[in-house]
Amino acid sequence: MSKSNFTRRGVLKTGAVAGAGMALPQYLRAQESGFTNAPGASEVTFGFNVPQTGPYADEGADELRAYELAVEHINGGGDGGMLNTFSSKALDGTGILGRELKYVTGDTQTKSDAARASARSMIEKDGAIMITGGSSSGVAVAVQALCQEAGVIFMAGLTHSNDTTGKDRKANGFRHFFNSYMTGAALAPVLAAQYGTDRKAYHLTADYNWGYTTEEAIRASTEAVGWETVNSVKTPLTQTDFSSYIAPVLNSGADVLVLNHYGGNMVNSLTSAVQFGLREAQANGQNFEIVVPLFSRLMARGAGENIKGILGSTGWHWSLQDEGSQAFVRSFGTKYGFPPSQAAHTCYVQTLLYADAVTRAGSFAPCAVAEALEDFEFDGMGNGKTLYRGADHQCFKDVLVVKGKENPESEFDLLEIVEVTPVDQVMYEPDHPQMGGAEATLGECNNGA
């Protein structure tokens, strides 16, 4: 019995083994490359694992568009997008290490089981060398653990929970997106500046891991600027009508409502909050305010008029004026007719970063790629100068504090940037208590087979 834990179809797919009619059984582990799914001479396959069904299907569809664009650019098609602005010039539009980039797609269904099944099929059946995508932290953590075990690299998509690069961090997993801690760190000073330091906050928190880490982060950072937390109530994930959670808020002595909700939860709780008149209300002699820590433009659209004037944070926004962002928006917009979302941005960048790291490392071996990504500093991909920190595989870059726009000019023009929080302000130590403390470790990088 061989010890190969995951197979390496890549070799076969290129047709290198046409062989005699009846080849002898092969122990593929004995192959010289020494890592899972080593690609053949002419092609390399990525696995784009995004939600295609379920509530985050639209976000998944946008991620997939970004991936297709990235593939096009890496293979030399289109206008090259961010390849032209990326500070590393290792990629030259001829594929990766002379191989044409192919991809397979799958549906995570935003369920960790389904996401792992899909990722395993990409690794076992399609010979994917890298898995990327996803639109929830549960999925990201589950797939990241799988990739660690299988010996491939995981480039996380949209995942905001601290856990992904906190207590659940893995040597084979990398996150470009920002996280709850950074949201708190970026948001608190703006909140203090706009709403004052004498504020009493009421938290509604989605009752699962991401909600917990976000609430913790926001509480810690707002309390540090002098706010008081009067109450915090957990809401079931499956809740659709938040009226019974919203109604008591106005009478609780609080003057700020923090909605630690995402996706459909956020749309519905914000809608309820606005219906109950919280946006116009007065409390403790001040205007009542609502804060949505994590904004996404796609979801903001679902919330419609209700987001006007509401503060939150976001990873990236198409209206950023730096060269990289502009280049990306231009190629994405030209191809699809509308601007990309933050999920699309992070997925596009992740693909390019991985391809670049392979090229710089000169190898597809996960450990070599990981080494090339660790402590890699780059620029020109939006959000300014960015560091992929080696200690926890988290990207550190500027975070955007945004506000629902009062007078949108188009259906995409929903958020305006209030402040670009510089990276130094959202930096933290790898053993920060919110990130799993001293116990959290990346473990050993795994090359697989």
């Binding site: 069904t53 379920g54 509530p55 985050y56 299907a57 639209d58 976000e59 569809a61 009752d207 109450n231 109530v233 957990k234 809401t235 079931p236 499956t238 659709t240 009508d241 009226s243 019974s244 959670y245 109604a247 008591p248 106005l250 009478n251 609780s252 459909g264 749309v267 519905n268 809608t271 309820s272 219906q275 109950f276 008149g277 116009e280 209300a281 796609l298 979801m299 659209r301 679902g302 919330a303 419609g304 008029e305 209700n306 198409w318 209206s319 928006v329 231009r330 917009g333 030209t334 601007p339 000019e409 188009s410 995409f412 023009d413």
Partner: protein
Amino acid sequence: MDQIIVQILNGLDKGSAYALIALGLTLIFGTLGVVNFAHGALFMLGSFCAVILSRLLSSSHEVADPDRLDFLGNPAMNKVFYVQDIFGEAAGAAIMDWAVPLAILFSIPVMIGVGFIMERGLIKHFYKRPHADQILVTFGLAIVLQEIIKYFFGANPIQTPAPEAFKGSLDFGVFLGYEANAIMYPYWRLVYFFFSAVIIAAVFAFLQFTTFGMVVRAGMADRETVGLLGIDIDKRFTFMFGLAAAVAGVAGVMYAPIVAPNYHMGMDFLVLSFVVVVVGGMGSLPGAVAAGFLLGILESFASMPVVVDILPGINQIIIYLVAIVILLTRPRGLMGRKGVMED
């Protein structure tokens, strides 16, 4: 105390949504004996009637604006709404603003039509089939309906606001002698509650006071006998299916401003509506309504911070916990009849 009143209001509001959905489900079950897993999808279709109408009303053509540029640097396009072309600016805007209430009128014929087609084309053939087959075919249908909606409208929720006139809240507490802001309640939710009450009353009156309704009620009680009387019960049943679809649809339209419609909202409501119907007692219309309000109110109470502090997680499970307690103490739910769906 004021908090309790607030939660009673919330509960009535939630309860009226549950009651409306359960009412339609029970109508179909009681008259046709069909377990309709596509009922949630009918509710969803109703919500999308509001979305579709508001899209239709705000359909527009674009005129290039020389002063502005879009995100790619091309000249930006300004939308010009057809209704405003036709009815003038103010009237056009008002029509678009009132899309949701107008959608009620729009949805009734649409949903009755959907109901007729469903019953004649599919459900009719499943009256004599085992409940398991009914579940499978209607579940399949529900998936198909929601995927069609997803294909055209995407997966994200679509905000469908109530008319401007209903925005804002009523300071309910002032009437009861509380200080201002103690009990605020949004107008639209009050409208929803009264509207539901009217619909429920109308359905009951229809069944109680019309001969048509009497025959149908007799059919619910004893289908075979009514068949023996030579009454063509089939046509009436088709109509009942249409009616049930319309009730679900109208409930959906009115709910659109409360919870932004999305393609899978039907599935979210499906399990809940079955729980409501069963807690009320299979085949009992008053039971379904009573259970809807009971569960709505209890769910609201369970979400109060004081309650959750004492019993963490109670808000997650209250509906199911209540269902278990009721079914164990009252074998056929609140008002269920003997022998219905017990084997």
